[in-house]
């Protein structure tokens, strides 16, 4: 078994291009995704038209500031403001007309016109909430009968880097796991050495297990690099649970992915076929398991399907460990599910690929 492991490591490290890609995926790729993908609106471009009293309007405008908003741009009239929105240079336009200022000064309900580019619907909605809150705070004398104390647990500042880098890491593990493990088998099939492997006086199941283990170990090394350098190093992600639980679930998940890859390898004859099948299986796996958007927001049918996805349990367990700080006992169902999926897939894959006749 150690001979097979050694051989697979050699094959992997000899392919310098592949090593570089894998390293890139586990470092830069996660870094870029964590830093770049911002889902909560920041730096919203804003423009305004002022037809009323400068002093009052400037006072309101001074409340629109970074990080939520860019410096507001003054437009001469409503027409030029609209044009900027149509060319998508500006996302939010506020029109302070005379009536608004007069009503505000005389204490009547003043209606403020807000023009908003709602192409990105969710962001537009949150931006409207920002504006509303700014206007509420602008009125100091406003007294609410009770204060509302909102606490966002686990990630109080809604830091998207933590969430995004973990999501990207899990997507990368899925992608690389599927490709690397399936290719290990199919390369031998393509070269015709697979039958020879099975003819050797070693059990077929042992060969399969060793081959998958070799790639799982490479993945685990990649995960260590990614978590150490990027997740903890660059982004300072807090971990509320135990890191060993994360390693355990990653290890089990890699095997479950290995099971899927084994099935892919069993039905495909060439590497090209592997590539296609991987894409067809990987995309739904990643996007419908709740990596990027919460499962509870999806349709019930997809929620049901996701019970068969090993990624679902991995994502939930990882978020539980990093953010919610769950302990070993709470995570037990996830470990069990990953293990069960891995065993079933190994059996199916073995039936198809592990025997000569």
């Amino acid at each position: 078994m150690s001979a097979i492991l050694k051989k697979e490591f050699l094959v992997f490290f000899r392919n310098v291009g592949l090593v570089i890609f894998v390293l890139y995926a586990f470092t830069m790729d996660i870094y870029i995704a964590g830093k770049g993908i911002k889902v909560t609106p920041r730096h919203v471009s804003i423009g305004y038209v002022n037809e009323g009293d400068i002093a009052v309007v400037n006072k309101i405008i001074s409340h629109f500031h970074s990080p939520q908003f860019k410096k507001p741009k003054l437009f001469l009239n409503e027409k030029s403001l609209k044009e900027a929105i149509y060319n998508r240079k500006i996302m939010v336009g506020i029109v302070f007309n005379k009536e608004f200022v007069n009503n505000l000064l005389s204490g009547k309900t003043a209606k403020l016109q807000v023009l908003i580019d709602s192409t990105a619907a969710a962001q537009a909605e949150v931006t409207l909430i920002y504006i509303q809150n700014i206007l509420l705070k602008f009125e100091h004398h406003l007294k609410t009968p009770a204060s509302i104390d909102i606490i966002k647990l686990f990630n109080p500042n809604a830091n998207t880097k933590w969430f995004m880098s973990l999501s990207e890491l899990m997507s990368d593990i899925t992608m690389l796991g599927l490709i690397l493990i399936a290719v290990v088998f199919v390369r031998e099939k393509e070269n015709g050495t697979w039958d020879i492997m099975l003819l050797m006086p070693v059990k077929g199941s042992l060969i399969i297990f060793a081959k998958i283990l070799s790639q799982v170990l490479i993945l685990m090394a990649g995960i260590t690099i990614a978590v150490g350098l990027i997740v903890f190093g660059a982004f300072n992600t807090p971990i509320n649970g135990n890191i060993f639980n994360f390693y355990l679930i990653s290890f089990l998940f890699s095997f479950a992915i290995g099971g899927i890859a084994l099935v892919i390898a069993a039905i495909s004859k060439t590497i090209l076929e592997v590539a296609h099948l991987t894409i067809v299986i990987m995309l739904p796996l990643i996007f419908l398991s709740g990596a990027w958007t919460p499962l509870s927001a999806m349709s019930p049918f997809i929620q049901f399907l996701s019970y068969f996805s090993p990624l679902r349990y991995y994502i939930q367990a990882t978020q539980d460990i990093f953010f919610r700080g769950s302990g070993f006992m709470d995570l037990l169902p996830y470990f069990g599910a990953e293990f069960l999926i891995a065993v079933i897939l190994f059996y199916i894959g073995y039936r198809k690929i592990g025997r000569l006749f």
Binding site: R88, Q113, T119, D330
Partner: protein
């Protein structure tokens, strides 16, 4: 350039693609991505699993619970559990939000009464949105007369539908990733199998070879423009307000850009797996980040704002969102400028690919 040489090469490519069933995947993958992402990416927040702990049992607290129950945003359960138990439910992901109404809440009104709200912050966008909903709801719940009322007019996506926001943006992602990887693979496959030596030794010019390799992915994906358009307008009901000709023409140019990227990838890689992984990695992230799906480009910070203008996807998606939701077409000079930039990109990438491709073993 000799047409009969190109014709012969083309014939071989088409037979090859159809014979190894690539053709199915060429049409399956883009449709699959569009449908999966279209249905899968949900940015609006509904059905937040909410637990309300009512320790007050007054008329006011019931009113607040009612307010929560009567929106699509919250799925409310009123439970009589301790704060600790509720927190454990958050920790094990059995609830998304807890609202705690303290005892003697209605008595303490105007004397420092406080409602506690705890939101699971693991999904940042969801947490921020829920926070906003809760504030809005509670302020309206207290019937406060606000001095300023916001009258918002939504442009382009009036009903704030998630589909309108996401589906057009996916075009830029799909037509960047899929043609690029196909073009890269059909060239690198020759390298891996060894048939590239036919090209090295035959009296065929580089430009002829490149044209013969560009045309199959280009033609196959041209049909995909129409297929995806139909999915977007019929399945997802995205309005189409612009000029179809502009939409089609821009998409064809954009596919050329993508194929150009694929040729460049094929030059630096020598195995099909490496070509696939490289072309996916260098196209997916920019295609997603700068597509405008998640964030309009105008609202990015300085760094990403500049980066976005390096990648062709931002120009393409600007025009695509325009043709779907806005409908200014070439009346807006900005769209014309972006179209010209795309043409330059296509020309430069393909010229570069033709120059750099090798016709001998190094």
């Amino acid at each position: 350039m000799r047409l009969n040489v190109i014709k012969a090469y083309l014939k071989k490519e088409f037979i090859d693609l159809i014979r190894n069933k690539m053709i199915i995947l060429i049409y399956l993958i883009p449709t699959m991505i569009l449908i999966l992402f279209g249905y899968g990416i949900k940015l609006e927040v509904t059905h937040t699993r909410t637990i309300i702990i009512d320790n007050d049992h007054s008329k006011l607290s019931l009113e607040i619970i009612n307010k929560f129950s009567h929106t699509k945003y919250f799925d409310v359960k009123v439970e009589n559990i301790s704060y600790k138990e509720a927190l454990h439910k958050l920790q094990t992901n059995k609830a998304d939000m807890i609202v705690i109404i303290p005892p003697s809440f209605s008595k303490d009104l105007y004397k420092g009464a406080q409602i506690g709200v705890f939101i699971d912050g693991s999904f940042p966008l969801r947490a921020v949105t829920i926070e906003g909903y809760v504030e809005k709801l509670l302020i309206h719940g207290f019937n406060i007369k606000l001095p300023i009322k916001i009258e918002n007019r939504n442009f382009f996506n009036e009903a704030m539908r998630d589909y309108n926001a996401i589906v057009p943006g996916l075009f830029g992602l799909i037509f960047l990733v899929v043609p690029a990887s196909l073009a890269a693979i059909i060239i690198v496959k020759e390298k891996e199998v060894g048939t590239i030596f036919n090209f090295y030794s035959a009296p065929i010019k580089k430009i002829e070879f490149v044209i013969a390799k560009i045309i199959p992915p280009f033609l196959f994906h041209s049909l995909n423009i129409f297929i995806l358009f139909l999915w977007a307008t019929y399945l997802f009901d995205v309005p189409f307000r612009g000029n179809f000709f502009i939409f089609w023409l821009t998409s064809e140019i954009y596919i050329l850009i993508s194929v150009g990227i694929g040729i460049l990838v094929s030059i630096v890689t020598s195995t099909q797996v490496a070509a696939l992984v490289l072309s996916v990695i260098i196209t997916v992230i920019p295609g997603f980040l700068y597509s405008g799906i998640l964030m309009p480009i105008s609202s990015m910070d300085k760094e990403s704002y500049i980066e976005a203008h390096i990648f062709p996807v931002s120009y393409y998606n600007h025009i695509i969102y325009d043709t779907f939701l806005i409908g200014q077409g070439f009346k807006s000079s900005l769209n014309v400028l972006y179209f010209i930039i795309l043409c330059i990109y296509a020309f430069v990438l393909i010229a570069l690919g033709t120059l750099l491709i090798k016709k001998a073993i190094k």
